[in-house]
Symmetry: C2
Subunit: 460 residues, 2 copies
């Protein structure tokens, strides 16, 4: 440990390859299955939606994959991001623990999402795509892809859940500012959108519907591909630059981490920080790794390990993952980015194998941690990030009780400047907690009775 | 010049003293005058509003003033801020100019304002103040002071122009999140506020009224002091850390700047970057320094150099400055931070002496530059910052016409994430331009007929 607060790498020290944890897994991961034939998925099954380079990365066995110079040229505007020690938080908690955060909020979109958005835009452009379609709920992902498309001269079409489109006008402006077309979903542009609107003209939309629209739009246009902001291997791969940088910065700080923490919805910010440390753990290092989720959407802590679709309309392949069921509609917590029924297959399988230790926190606990953070460290956390923070605060308090000098590192995945509504509710005492009942859990997962089951399922 | 994009100083290279341009001025600045006696102002005249340390700094003849360790401890969380080369903007403009920006948006409040807010909170706390009062319009300054007060355990009372309070709920939440009390102004808390409300119950408020309320509140409470976010010498002093860092970073980049650019309202972000370069200019370096203002509020480009009050209610001392008249109400441009009738005395006197070359831009030109910037460089500029950007674009285009490799450095004073309404209007073609008519100018400056005139007034 040193006296500094901030650990910076120079532009020349930026990692030049992403890390593919798939190459080091001590078990054989289950394959995704074709949604109709139930046969293991082949590259050709993805060709209608993704460009060849990304399909290759999705299935690559290679340990390190070079980051193209054009992507590094964009990354280096804000990367390597700082690793910062949260000294004022430590003081406020009177803890002997040392807390470090990897600050991804410095990206132009304010979160970690551009790490993969930029890479996806680059590969699509190189492989001849002219337009990308995607969905967005809270707006972080849509914002990042709009930004990346503007850098690589791609058209960008974002299907934004209608209720968010109306409640978050700033997010819409943000995306339009980068030249993206933002369409409230359900829309009249697609078959699936029209079907929903005919049945329910006032439908507020959902992430599931927006995914269906974006997928349908891309599949029907030879100039277009579809882009996803989490869950898939290549997305997690692009995010590993976070953990690769953090490992070197912790070395600069003279620290060996005891705890690695990240929140998760689909898994990409957690994986981005954690995967290089999972490698260390596989190689024998003592290290506890916590993916943190909201109690309102308890994928890793309470749901079954199954084969399920990534979207509500069941267009996507069956993925081996913990899932609340593709028809599950999470309670309206403010951490919109964590409201996802499933979980990245690789992260799911790490949990199934016991290599990571999932935790769940309530919305109130997350906001308490977020406000404590703002008042001590300054930056207002995204509601998603506050979920990780709550777990950090728990461990820092435990270290105090035990009188132990633990080293905690977590992914500060983004700032909350465009998500202040939840804070206003917290300050006014109007924030609600949601916990999924056993009954609702049973209902939403009943669908799995007829689904194939992963072979390497472990009992919990 | 080197191949890098980003020039970073380590935490250990952070400047440890602020630079006081007052020590190097090649002319004798005019003194502020007591608002009633018209005698040159003494330290005792400021004692009701400011703590002794800040009054001393306000009048100090010392060239460098040490930054206290406790202030450096906060600064180093995000300082030194990056100096970044805007390569994608250069490419888009096909200019041989090299454009560098000092990025102050990385602070927790998203702008340069914490540089002085943290220092002011520290000195106030040290000198025994328990509460700070201030005013805010757009919200950048109130946010920064709320943050700083939370770090130094001071109460914070912010009088926020009522129309902004209602139109910008996120800004209010932001300040409350740090524990500040935010009061829509005019309020019933003060004599001046009540007087306005009695005359006009629906008054939307103004910065002038909010200043009067904050000053009155502080003057009437022995536990409280008043805090100002621009204009005064000590505020400009604290901001010089920007320019001190930038000079060293330009050396790292192997560059000598031809143009230094900053937008201004009261003058603090401009001065923060420019003053160390003004020193270079005084010492014989060839360098053009542009303060940039909106055409809707043309202080340095069109108004007279006079003695005027800093506030509408005429509570403050008479300051030697360019002023549109203390009763002037600027048009409702989105760059709220630039809607100020006067200008920092030191900056005013530099303009009067011809050491800096003021420029004015229209609202549309500023937004065009802001959108071009977002689409090439990524970060969305604050509407204020876009005014500086417009001048940068002008110079980059001129360099292209002349085929000259000019080096331009400007202060990217803050991001615009909480100010997206203006961008939405721009994208929808609903943005208006405002230019002050000669008639209105004559009307608002007629008041000066009875005022004392600065002795060293130069003809324009």
């Amino acid at each position: 440990m040193t006296g500094e607060v901030k650990f910076l790498l120079t532009e020349k020290e930026i990692p030049t390859a992403w890390y593919n944890l798939g190459a080091d897994l001590p078990f054989r991961p289950e394959p995704p299955l074709h949604p109709k034939t139930l046969a293991p998925l082949g590259p050709e099954d993805l060709a209608a939606l993704f460009p060849p380079s990304l399909i290759e990365q999705e299935m690559s066995p290679q340990r390190f994959i070079d980051i193209p110079g054009e992507v590094l040229d964009v990354y280096r505007q804000w990367r390597p991001t700082p690793l910062v020690r949260a000294r004022r938080l430590e003081r406020a908690l009177q803890t002997p623990a040392r807390v470090y955060y990897k600050y991804e909020g410095v990206s132009p979109a304010g979160s970690h999402k551009p790490n993969t958005a930029v890479a996806q835009a680059y590969y699509n452009r190189r492989d001849g795509t002219r337009r990308l379609t995607t969905e967005t709920g809270a707006g972080q992902w849509g914002s990042a892809l709009a930004l990346a498309c503007s850098f690589f001269d791609l058209e960008c079409t974002v299907y934004m859940v209608r209720v968010s489109y109306e409640q978050k006008p700033y997010r819409k402006t943000f995306m339009r500012l980068y030249g993206a077309e933002v369409i409230p979903s359900p829309s009249d542009r697609t078959f699936s959108g029209r079907a929903i609107r005919e049945a329910d003209p006032g439908s507020p939309g959902s992430l599931g519907i927006a995914i269906s629209e974006a997928v349908e739009d891309a599949a029907g246009d030879p100039r277009a591909c579809y882009s996803l902001g989490s869950v898939l291997n290549h997305v997690l791969l692009h995010q590993t630059i976070i953990g690769l940088e953090a490992r070197r910065q912790l070395e600069m700080a003279g620290e060996r981490p005891d705890f690695v923490v990240g929140c998760f919805g689909g898994g990409s910010n957690f994986a981005g920080l954690a995967f290089p440390f999972v490698m260390d753990k596989i190689n024998g290092k003592q290290i506890e790794i916590y993916p943190v989720e909201p109690k309102a959407c308890p994928t890793l802590t309470r749901s079954p390990f199954v084969y399920d679709h990534g979207d509500t309309a069941r267009y996507t392949p069956l993925l081996p993952m913990y899932s609340l069921g593709h028809a599950f509609v999470p309670a309206p917590i403010h951490a919109g980015g964590l409201r996802y029924h499933g979980m990245a297959p690789t992260v799911s399988q790490l949990a199934n194998e016991g290599l990571i230790a999932p935790r769940a926190v309530s919305q109130t606990e997350a906001y308490q941690a977020g406000v404590l953070w703002a008042r001590t460290e300054g930056v207002i956390p995204a509601p998603e990030t506050s979920n990780a923070l709550a777990q950090v605060v728990r461990e820092a308090k435990k270290a105090k009780e035990e009188g132990k000098e633990k080293v905690i590192v977590f992914n500060f995945s983004g700032h909350g400047l465009l998500d202040l509504t939840g804070y206003e509710k917290y300050l006014s005492g109007q924030l609600s907690d949601y916990e999924l009942s056993d009954d609702d859990m049973a209902k939403s997962t009943a669908v799995f009775a007829d689904y194939p089951t992963p072979q390497n399922l472990k009992s919990r």
